[in-house]
């Protein structure tokens, strides 16, 4: 007879305080790991960093065995996986319908989206630091094997730019997720924007002389790639192109998506 073991109803002893953002972000972080697919997506960031590092040691010519090679190699898979993780953290609330509970426990939907963004950015930064650490181990081990001097040719600014580039890429995915709120649609849109769009824009630029000058101000992937080039500082024009492209590809879908999230019916 455990049936009626409810402790009666709550006698409001202490005033109820609102759910703090730190707790919400912690919960959202947990939700990115607590399914098999979520867990393996995260684990794949470390796994691909190890594989990329191994590939550099095996295939790169000895004179290119510097930290810059490792840094670029480990950054690439992360840059693909992180936006997917960010997309799923948003869209699963709709596709898996867990949003019914999430948005009932926290009716201020903007706070939930913010908590998800905080968790996703946290994961992005942590993953990059992990990937870079794996790359650093690769650099030490690789040069020890070949007997070449260990070269640390990635400046702190370079590293910061790479982390920023990854966070922007991840937030681009996040924005698509907020806008579309469907896992399948958002993943497809993300892949089209990241892998099909650059080719299309390049094709367009080569055919249309007028578009050639415009392309760097539209192509978000090209603008982001300025952040990933190690050894050359990011110019003022590149920063401007980054700002303009991110306004179009990140800020705009995020703002429109947020309005839809706040107003829509959660079913």
């Amino acid at each position: 007879m455990t049936a009626i073991a409810v402790e009666g109803t709550r006698r409001q002893a202490a005033p109820i305080r609102s759910v703090p953002m730190s707790r919400l972000a912690g919960v959202e972080l947990r939700k990115m790991f607590d399914t098999r697919s979520g867990f393996w997506l995260m684990a794949s960031i470390a796994a691909t960093a190890v594989i990329a590092t191994g590939a550099v040691i095996l295939y790169a010519p000895d004179e290119e065995l510097t930290y810059a090679s490792f840094g670029s190699a480990v950054g690439f898979p992360t840059a693909v996986i992180l936006p997917m993780a960010a997309i799923l953290s948003v869209t699963s609330e709709w596709s898996q319908r867990s949003g019914l509970t999430t948005f009932t426990l926290v009716p201020h939907r903007g706070r939930v989206v913010l908590a998800k963004a905080v968790a996703a950015i946290g994961i992005g930064v942590a993953s990059m630091l992990l990937a870079m650490a794996i790359g650093a181990i690769g650099n030490v081990v690789g040069t020890a094997i070949t007997g070449t001097p260990t070269v640390w040719d990635v400046s702190l600014a370079d590293a910061a730019h790479i982390v920023l580039g990854n966070v922007l890429g991840l937030m681009g995915g996040f924005a698509i997720g907020v806008l579309l709120r469907s896992s399948a649609a958002a993943l497809v849109a993300y892949f089209v924007i990241s892998f099909v769009q650059p080719t299309l824009l390049m094709l367009l630029a080569s055919r249309q002389a007028g578009f050639q000058d415009l392309q760097p101000w539209v192509d978000v992937n090209a603008a982001q790639s300025a952040l990933f080039t190690i050894g050359s500082p990011v110019t003022g024009q590149e920063w401007a192109q980054l700002a303009v492209t991110e306004a179009v590809w990140l800020v705009l879908p995020l703002v429109v998506g947020l309005r839809l999230v706040l107003r829509s019916e959660i079913k």
Partner: protein
């Protein structure tokens, strides 16, 4: 206490909820009864802020749902047992609720105990759960914050008879402890057993509401006599409209006392005389909801 005041929700030309006003009081179980598609779920989603209302408002203990600082501690909600992330374990889903509300970790085990999900079941992924298990998990999520108000949409769906009995005792205990319970169902029998107050909705509109006892009384009287025709004529002469049942009984929308007096005056010996009760309520429910459906079709 949940107060709903002239709530309306339209989707284009279609009005899913039409000027609905009622309240669910503390210490009572309020049954929200209506056929499928009558607007029960939409009303409940509006109560908890998932669906914006077109007009009207809802308050819970005097406040709008979105103004509750930590809603899980004040309102336990179960809307759809299937709306759970299939890839999470039952325990994980409870843990997320427990963490969001800022409750101690032991609440998770207490709730698993309460809804009789075993440790092994709790470690399984929800995609492998039966509807009954999902329903139990949903109840656990609703109760984990020990809220004073419960909003449950068709909570008995998928439960076995023992589970339904358990749920009924649980809700009774909750209301007796001072809690407010609003539960919906399309099954009159389910509502009739547990509810103190009943709100009947059809085609988005409230067609009847009141205490269960009041509605049962309004359901009228069943009377049986050997000389049915004679009794029927006497009742009609008194301005009543008896309806004949296949089994020879008559149902009249009047008190048993009045029917008894009429039979006595007519000199007809009565073999059975009682309040129509549940059966009458069911008939009334079908009549009321059928009426609104006809109206809807005509318009």
């Amino acid at each position: 206490m949940i107060t709903i005041h002239s709530l309306t929700k339209s989707y284009g030309a279609f009005t899913a909820v039409d000027d609905v006003t009622f309240s669910a009081r503390a210490g009572r179980v309020t049954g929200f009864l209506g056929p499928n598609g009558a607007g029960k779920s939409t009303t409940m989603r509006i109560i908890v802020g998932l669906t914006p209302a077109t007009s009207g408002h809802v308050s819970i203990a005097g406040r709008a749902f979105r103004d509750l600082p930590n809603p899980g501690l004040e309102v336990g909600v179960l809307l759809e047992a299937s709306a759970l992330h299939a890839g999470r374990t039952g325990r994980e889903i409870l843990t997320i609720a427990q963490r969001t509300m800022g409750l101690p970790g032991r609440r998770v085990d207490e709730m698993l105990d309460l809804v009789s999900l075993t440790g092994r079941e709790a470690h399984r992924r929800v995609r492998d759960y039966s509807l009954g298990m999902r329903q139990r998990l949903g109840i656990a999520t609703a109760l984990i914050g020990d809220p004073g108000v419960l909003v449950l949409d068709e909570p008995a769906n998928g439960l076995d008879p023992a589970g339904i009995r358990w749920m009924r005792d649980l809700l009774r205990g909750y209301a007796d402890g001072g809690g407010t319970v609003l539960l919906s169902s399309h099954l009159l029998h389910e509502i009739e057993i547990v509810a103190d107050d009943i709100v009947v909705i059809g085609e988005g509109r409230i067609v009847a509401q009141g205490t269960k006892d009041g509605l049962l009384r309004a359901a009228g009287t069943v009377v049986r006599a050997a000389r049915t025709t004679e009794l029927s004529r006497a009742l009609e002469a008194a301005g009543l409209a008896p309806t004949a049942h296949d089994d020879g009984a008559l149902r009249i929308e009047a008190s048993p006392e009045l029917v008894g007096k009429i039979a006595l005056a007519a000199g007809v010996a009565v073999t059975e005389l009682r309040a129509a009760g549940g059966a009458g309520l069911e008939e009334m429910f079908l009549e009321l909801t059928a009426e609104t459906q006809r109206e809807g079709a005509a318009a």
